[in-house]
Amino acid sequence: MAHWLRSYALLLKWNVLGLRLMLPFFVAVQVVLSVGIVVGFSFLVPDLDRTAALYLSTGAPTVNLVLVGMVLTPNGISTKKQTGAFDHQRALPVPRLALLAADTTLWIAAAVPGVVAGLGVAVLRFDISLTIGWTAVPALLLVALTCTTLGYALAYTATPMVTALVAQMVVFFTLMFSPINFPADRLPEWFQAVHAVLPFAPMAQAVRESLAVPPGGPAVLPFAVLAAYCALGFAVSYAAMLRRP
């Protein structure tokens, strides 16, 4: 365990040093995106009722975590693969899980300012009051972990070109066609069925119901679905990490 923690801490240090120059830029982009979703969508929909405002406010952090986990993270891994940093780290005598954990920690930490800024601006812009439940942090963390492990799984198994393309699709799909920023019943039925098996709707629901807790408390099912997706992403990433061709 001591070896694990020591490896994790040193790898994290290495990652922070390596991304030191880019990190402020990443964080700035996250904040702009998060705030942009709240402000930008309110231009699209001129007369926001309370429901729409609630979806936009709580959707912003979810979209933010999806972008960090499923776009920035896989692109970061692709870059590491191309520069040789990936193989270099794999040849070090460190536990494979510590490699994965050190990367994940950095990306999730980079998402925090964007999440906070998006929520803050939403509360001010729409003048809504959130009732933040105890599940808020676990929900955000679970969404972040699910997105990063799925992002990893993508980057580890696909070529950099395919990874970049899929990441582009994810941005488009989450922003425009996922019931994150609007209720699912606005989508055609067949598309609702598609979202019943994808992780985006459960992500949005878990975050929404943790930041604006409904009378009966947050539903359990989205958490369970996310946990399953997280486990899947983790299993694929870990297997790719251990893989010896």
Binding site: L21, A85, L92, P93
Partner: protein, 316 residues
């Protein structure tokens, strides 16, 4: 004592040829073993199996008493690898990179710091010790990668083309550190295309070709094994190749306008006479009679394809 023992190692990638086709070699404590071979000879495939990044199709590897196939984690702890590609150092200074790598490899903080200072001084790159990687020249980055590998090296140190991009003066400093690693009881596996450097720096050489070790021995031993001690090197006067015939002459081969003829030492007089006759007749512009170099031996071993191609590749 053998630190690395590779026995009948076969590695076949899916839908590919055999990258390693029965490789057997040993690297002893305190020795620098040079591994020579063309691109695609199977050197990198061999290394990846030793450090536990690839799995052999068949055969065995013993590294410091452990089995990298069954226990890749122990292999990575026992062996430090300097890969052929540049180690990415963006945002990281040489001092941070070397010290952090030493600590990742298990050195306590004080020892990592001291060893880092010593290595940066020994390689004469202290001037850039605190410059971020993106501002460093290729050579300094290469030397940093070497220092990262040598800082807390384990029992086996593997270096893939360590001197690429490094200036001649610092190359010598690097080789001195390689020798110091061996003197400290490590086995060093040095992978290179550079025959001249391998000859000077390695205690023993293994030559790989098409996934096999085709020759192994000391540089002197390998030279002794080749037919002919000398070679006659002729530069043709025009495109018309003259016939080179004298007692004891080996099979001539042509490289552009050059003709190279191997010969035993006792045929030297006859060779000189033949060369002078050809020059007097205006058939050649100049000639040289030289001892066989390890490069000649190497080309003889891995030859095949056009002679010109091999010479061209080595000269490049």
């Amino acid at each position: 004592m053998a630190v690395l023992e590779v026995d009948h190692l076969v590695k076949r990638y899916r839908r590919g040829p055999r990258a390693n086709d029965g490789v057997t070699l040993r690297a002893e404590e305190g020795e620098v073993l040079g591994l020579l071979g063309h691109n695609g000879a199977g050197k990198t495939t061999l290394i990846n199996q030793v450090v536990g990044l690839a799995r052999p199709t068949s055969g065995t590897i013993r590294l410091a008493g452990g089995d990298p196939v069954a226990d890749p984690a122990s292999a990575r702890a026992a062996c430090a690898l300097m890969p052929q590609s540049q180690v990415p150092l963006d945002g990281i200074t040489p001092r941070q990179a070397v010290e952090t790598t030493a600590r990742i490899r298990g050195a306590p903080r004080q020892r990592a710091r001291a060893r880092t200072g010593d290595l940066l001084a020994a390689l004469d790159i202290e001037e850039w010790a605190d410059t971020a990687g993106e501002h460093l020249s290729g050579g300094v980055r290469r030397l940093t990668a070497f220092a990262m590998t040598a800082a807390e090296p384990g029992r086996l140190v593997i270096m893939d083309e360590p001197t690429n991009d490094v200036d001649p003066v610092r190359r010598r400093l690097l080789w001195a550190q390689v020798r110091a690693l061996a003197a400290g009881g490590r086995a060093v596996l040095l992978v290179t295309h550079n025959v001249a450097e391998a000859e000077r720096s390695a205690d023993r050489l293994a030559v790989m070709d098409s996934g096999r070790v085709v020759a192994e021995g000391t540089p002197a031993g390998l030279r002794a094994g080749v037919a002919g001690d000398l070679r006659l090197d002729l530069l043709m006067a025009d495109a018309d190749a003259p016939e080179v015939a004298f007692a004891g002459a080996g099979r001539p081969h042509r490289v552009g306008r050059r003709i190279i003829v191997p010969l035993p030492a006792d045929a030297a007089d006859a060779a000189l006479a033949c060369a002078q006759r050809l020059r007097a007749a205006g058939r050649i512009e100049e000639f040289a009679l030289t001892p066989v170099s390890l490069e000649d031996v190497y080309i003889g071993l891995v030859g095949g394809g056009s002679e010109e191609g091999h010479h061209g590749a080595l000269a490049a």
